[in-house]
Every structure is written in C-alpha cells, then in structure tokens.
Amino acid sequence: MSNPGARDALEAAYRTEARRVLATLIRLLGGFDAAEEAMHEAFAAAARQWPEQGVPANPYAWLVSAGRFRTIDRWRREARLERALPELAAMAETTPEPAMPEDIQDDELRLIFTCCHPALAADARAALTLREVGGLTTEEIARAYLATAPAIAQRIVRAKAKIREDAIPYEVPSRAELPARTDSVLQVLYLIFNEGYAATEGPSLTRGDLSAEAVRLGRLVAELLDDPEALGLLALMLLHEARRATRTDAAGDVVLLEDQDRSLWDRDRIAEARGLIARAMSGGRIGAYTLQAAIAAVHAEARAWAETDWGRIVSLYDLLERAAPSPVSALNRAAAVAMRDGPEAGLAAIEAAMADGGLDAYHLAHAARADMLRRLGRTPEARAAYERALELARQPAEQRFLAARLDQLVKDQSSRLV
C-alpha cells in the first residue's frame, strides 16, 4: 500500500461521513436502495483508489460523487437510460455537489423527516432513523428493542417499501405540517438518546456514541427548526450528558444522583441548556421536553443534594403531569414528594402512582417503593420489594446496585436481631 494512512482515513470516513453521504445520495438518486448500493460502491472504490491516489481533501464530496457516478453509469449500462433519459441527463450533468455544511445538514434533516414520517408505523420510524440516520446496524437496533434481528429487518424493509409506494417526499415539511411532524422527530431522537444513556441490556450502562448522535441530531433539528420543544429536548439531553461521567463509578456501578460528585458536572453544557430552556419558555407554549429539562436544571443548579429545591421540582412535575401524563413521571413526582415531605408521604405517592398497574414491570418503581419501606423500618416489605426490583432489572450495573441494597438490608436486620 503506497499510502499507509489511507486505510485509517477510510475507516474514519466510514464512521463520520457514511450517514451524511447516504443522506445526500438519497436525494440525488431518489431512493434508499439505490443510495445504499451507491454508497457501498463508493466505499469500495475508495478502498481501491485512496491507497494509490491519496486521500481526497474532502472525503464526503469524493464519496458522494463516486457513488452517484457509478450508479448512473450502471443504470446506463443496464439500458435504463431510455426510460429515465431526461432525469438521468439532468443528474449526470449537474456539477458535483458543493460540500457546504448547510447543504449536508439539509440532507440530513430531510432524511430525519422521511424516517420519522407519520405514515410509517411508530416502531418502524425509530428503527429506520436509528439505522439510516444514526448508522446503527439492524442487530444493534434489535438488541436495543429486545427484538429479533429478522423482526427489525422486516420492519425496515416494509418502511422503505412504504416510502417508495406512497412516494413519501424527501423534504422538510411545509410550515402547516411542521409542528406535528416535528413531534414525531423529537420522540424518535429522545428514544435514541435514552438507548444511549441507559442501555436496556448489555455490559455497559451508557453507550456514549448513541447519545452523542442523538445530541448531534437534536442540535441540528433545534438549529434548523424554530420549535420550542426542539430546544427543550436539546436542553434535556445536554443536562443528562453533563452528568454522564458521574453516573457510574470506575467499576461501572450506578452512582445515585445524591452521591454524584457535582464538581465534575459539565458546567458549559448546563449553562447552554439553561439558555435553551429560557428560549423555549419565552414562546408561551411550554411542552413536556422543556418541563423535563427545567426539572433537570433544578438538580443541575443545586450545589448539593440537600440544597435541591424539591418544592420547585414537585410543582414542575405537576405541570408535566398536565402537559403529558405518564406513569413514569408520576413516579418521579412521588419521589420528589418523598424528598419534600418525608418517606410516609413519599410511600403514599409512590403507591398511588403504581395503583393502576402501569408500573408493575418497571424495576425502578419497586426500587423506589422499597427505599421508602426501608426508611420507614418496614424491613420485610422492603426486602420483598427490592427482590421484585432485582428480578425485573436487566442491566448488570443496576442488578449489582439492587443486590447491594438488598444485602445491606439483610445485614442491618441481622445486626439488629443480634
């Protein structure tokens, strides 16, 4: 190999440029399948040519132009020229795409809106966005959703067929459609972020690459769309990210919010998030993401756990319960009530949140209830609740945490008996 750096450059280009190259090729070639094939051919061509000819100054532009050229060339050879003559002639004659960052961003934004189109099944939107925009493999998505790879693969195949058959346009929606379409996009991005922030399974509690991708896309959407909830979601993700390094210890075990080293929180991200929340709230309509971000900001601003403004957090949760009621936010509200008013009030609030059964399979609900029971000295009930939480937890780090709590409880109990 005459250029030993070419292999590294190619791998780096695959990591950083592949999804953007794909987004542009979908626009240029008019479909997912053609674009994926073109991208594959472009990378194959790069693997042959970069070691010989050197790494191009702009890998994105090189790959887009190689992919487009090869595809149009192949179509021509396949004698499809006649059928698509006017279109093809136009494609072939266009000067190479200028690699302006805003053009690339526009292509990614188009791709996000297409992948999150409401005509697609809700589960297909997330899978498609994760694969086409986030660059995850089918198998990684299947693991994230606790589904089989063939089931996810089929979801993606059907979604792409739907896009083709319904001729879902590859564009940012019109102003009239924009709010509803944006909601769907934000939902999908938060799903991706959460998968990266608290991977449901697997050896590591956080998968920084996924969260970083969600933040990147969230930033893109917030910058290009004038939507308060896009700002709120970005703020929420940044506030979670600001605490990432302190969420687990060296052994990968969970560190609770109250025990985290607040001096390590990323103050720049927190400051950026505060600015975004202020902008989001200035619009009048305050949505669920903005409220969740505001709650996270109260935590981020407290210098110590004991200084947390629990009254403010409970009232923000009250607003959130009105904007977007959910069992999990009812549980979080109950935990804040426990902090403000003590374990007895907390237990009552947690049990009220769990009353309709929506949290039966949620390990953190059982863990929170166990914690109240422990603090109230109702040890046998606390033990049963910890055991239930442990049964339901899937993350090894969380399992270790709950097992340690259970151990401590048993030890405290036996030392009291002695």
């Binding site: 493999t137 089918t138 790879a149 063939p150 089931a151 693969a153 089929q154 195949v157 067929a161």
Partner: protein, 121 residues
Amino acid sequence: MQYVCLIYFDPKTVFNGSAESNAVLGAVGPNNEAMRASGHMVSSEALTLPHEAITVRVRDGKVSTTDGPFMETREVLGGFVLIEARDLNEAVQVASAIPFAKLGSVEVRPVVDFSKPRPQL
C-alpha cells in the same frame, strides 16, 4: 469435484446440554482440523438457529420478507452464497438481487459468532 455436505439436526437434540450432544459439539473442531489437514476442507460455517433467519422473495419487482425459514414445500436447497454485509438489512438487500429470489426464495441466516455462548434448549 466439489461437494457440499449439508448438515441437518433437531436443535433440541444438539443443544440440550447432554453428555452425548456435548461430545458431538466438542468433536466438530478436531474433525474440521482433520479435514483441513487432509485437504478435503474448502470452507465451513455454522449457522445460527432458524429464529434468526429471514426469507427474501422478489415478485413483480417487489421485495418481501418473512421471519424465519419458510420455504414452499416443493422448494429444495439449490445452492448457497456466503456474503459479507454490514448488517441484516444490507444482507437482505444483497439477497434480493440474487436472481433466484424472483423464482424461489433466499433464506438469509447469520453464521455463528463463536464469541457468544451456545444456545441452551
């Protein structure tokens, strides 16, 4: 001449953890070595269980997929292609371009990743 030896088994007999099945699984590696040493081995791959399979057909230019290995009863194994793909969807895309997908069906099944634990059935 080259010959393909197709291996069929009931997964419950092979992965039930019995001494007999473990002995068989343990003998596969040494036998592969022996076939390689004697020059008979061209290549071999283990396949994951059928629930990881997806079957691809192309009819009227449209790709359809089904979970699992659901061949028509009249269909027989006619050949195989070992491909390298980024993920299962890319594999499906490659499989859908195999001309036989228009007449029959192409079952796509991952080869076994031996860094993962063996299934327990």
